[in-house]
């Protein structure tokens, strides 16, 4: 399945002009608030009628303004997971889950039992949404969208309304969705950590325009792409779980280099993706000794991008992949950093939180 979007729309003084293709997997629309992410996903869902353009899923045309075609939302067969859940308050959880399924008829392919089991909501079925926690509501909302038999799942910042603990609770369900369910997902987010964990493809939006699109690892490790500012910058490393140590650390192997992380709940041999935030990386010209940090990656500087403030963003090519480091301009000068310079990246083990590590 592929989703092809090419739309233009004017909302007040805001001009949206977006064109991208989404291959199978999770495509994340990434950008800060006000960049037009929600307008794009609403145009795909049919909740916004774009001034011009074309949206097609797998060749089925949902919108084509040139051909005068516009399919109303209820005939698009998409599953939409909203930020606020939007469960029907007058129905039980079970009735909420069955709602879309009833309209889909035999178009619904996912088995009810499998979805309930996967989301762990079996004990909630007879409850009403009013009494559920935010995380429970969102799991039911995921199930409801999935059970409608959609050809594409849409999710608009589904974790934004949750606190950190609940976010960590829901994120794995989206990973399972990506890995176990064949339905592709269009996911809107402004959180670099979410993008790093979920995205197969990233489409970066800025002021209503696509500034970059491509595979997640490539886009996120590009220092030019910082839709949420330099604070959100970070690289994505792909690694394999090598062994779990008795002292609570997990050793990963990435391109021949070893990385030590707080316990990663994945089996040995599994591939994981690790997001290393640029502000958690320290650079050293010489191989440092007598240092408490466990992770030391040798590399070569491939790009230096000065920021607006005193900071600068340095890309380092290491055996594990591209690592981004945010250092002050003063340090960059003192160290004589320039493209081609040999360097070591120091990453504190505890700086990498469990949220930064996801299954692949």
């Amino acid at each position: 399945m592929t989703l092809a979007v090419d739309i233009g729309h004017t909302l007040g003084g805001f001009r949206l002009d977006v064109s991208f293709d989404a291959p199978p997997g999770v495509t994340v629309l990434f950008g800060r608030s006000g960049s037009g992410k929600t307008s794009v996903i609403n145009a795909v869902a049919g909740l916004l009628k774009p001034d011009r353009g074309r949206v097609a899923v797998d060749g089925a045309v949902l919108v084509d303004t040139d051909a005068g075609r516009w399919l109303p939302p209820h005939r698009r067969r998409l599953g939409y997971i909203f930020q606020e859940g939007r469960l029907f308050p007058h129905m039980t959880v079970k009735q909420n889950l069955s709602y879309g399924r009833w309209f889909a008829g035999n178009g619904a392919t996912e088995s009810m039992d499998h979805v309930i089991d996967m989301l762990g909501i079996g004990h909630l079925l007879s409850r009403r949404p009013g009494g559920l926690s935010g995380g429970e509501k969102q799991r039911v909302a995921i199930g409801r969208a999935l059970l409608a038999g959609p050809r594409l799942l849409l999710a608009d910042e589904p974790l934004a309304a949750l606190d950190e603990g609940r976010k960590a609770e829901i994120l794995p369900y989206f990973e399972r969705l990506r890995d176990e369910v064949s339905v592709p997902i269009l996911y809107v987010s402004h959180s670099a950590a979410e993008v790093a964990r979920l995205a197969t493809t990233v489409v970066v939006l800025q002021d209503g325009k696509v500034v970059r699109q491509g595979p997640a690892g490539e886009v996120l490790s590009d220092p030019e792409v910082m839709p949420t500012g330099v604070r959100g910058a970070g690289a994505l490393l792909v690694a394999r779980v090598a062994r779990h140590h008795d002292d609570g650390l997990t050793e990963l192997e990435a391109g021949g280099a070893a990385l030590f992380l707080p316990m990663v709940a994945q089996e040995v041999g599994r591939e994981v993706r690790v997001r290393v935030a640029a502000h958690d990386v320290i650079l050293a010209r010489e191989k440092p000794v007598g240092l408490s940090a466990l992770n030391l990656l040798p590399g070569t500087v491939s790009a230096i991008r000065p920021g607006d403030g005193p900071g600068t963003l340095v890309s380092l090519e290491t055996p594990a992949g591209t690592v981004l480091a945010r250092v002050t301009r003063r340090s960059a000068q003192a160290l004589g950093l320039e493209v081609g310079a040999a360097c070591h990246a120091v990453i504190k083990t505890v700086a990498i939180a469990p949220e930064d590590v996801g299954g692949l």
């Binding site: 049919g46 209820h74 939409y80 909203f82 939007r86 469960l87 029907f88 308050p89 969208a145 409608a148």
Partner: protein
Amino acid sequence: MGWLGPEEWQAVALSLRVSFWATLVALPIGIFTAYALARWRFPGKQVVNGLVHLPLILPPVVTGYLLLLTFGTTGPVGGLLEKVGIVFAFRWTGAALAAGVMAFPLMVRAIRLSIESVDPKLEEAAATLGASRAWVFVTVTLPLILPGVLAGAILAFAKAMGEFGATITFVSNIPGQTQTLPSAVYAFLQVPGGEGPAMRLVIVSVVIAMGALLLSEVVARRAASRVAGG
């Protein structure tokens, strides 16, 4: 009912019948009108809104006279309807029409308020799950506005029970035909020795009004607790 005389009992029964049908027929039209006023944007919306509220503001006698001009057997609408066998003038159906028209604004106001309190985002969510507009209304909007609909219906019923001015102007005060409870009270008070029956009818109408009010409270509370806490 031995306590009420046959004429009094006739008036009570007629009033109940008139109010029941007035409410029942007005309800779907009221829901539609309330929905249109709450959710749609169309030219002339303020005119429609004004027309709906007119019976609330006009003297009831004026409303009754306008009904007589329109729905009387010589009126433009009444003449047409007479050809298909529907007659309003000086029949209980006319009393029901007058009661329905007078109660309509109250009903629409109550229902419109409850529709405006329904989050359109829930209706959007239903649409993305495959529900057409009609299904969205039946499965999401209607259940959520049920307390408002019931409140509107009960309010309309109570108003219809008490309607006097428009009714007496439009269909007069014919015992057994158009003499509703308020008309009967009025008629009894016009003749010597009528205070007794009038007082009994007053008690009946107080009981019915209080009963309707209590019922609406119970129903609204039950419906509200059912949908509480989104």
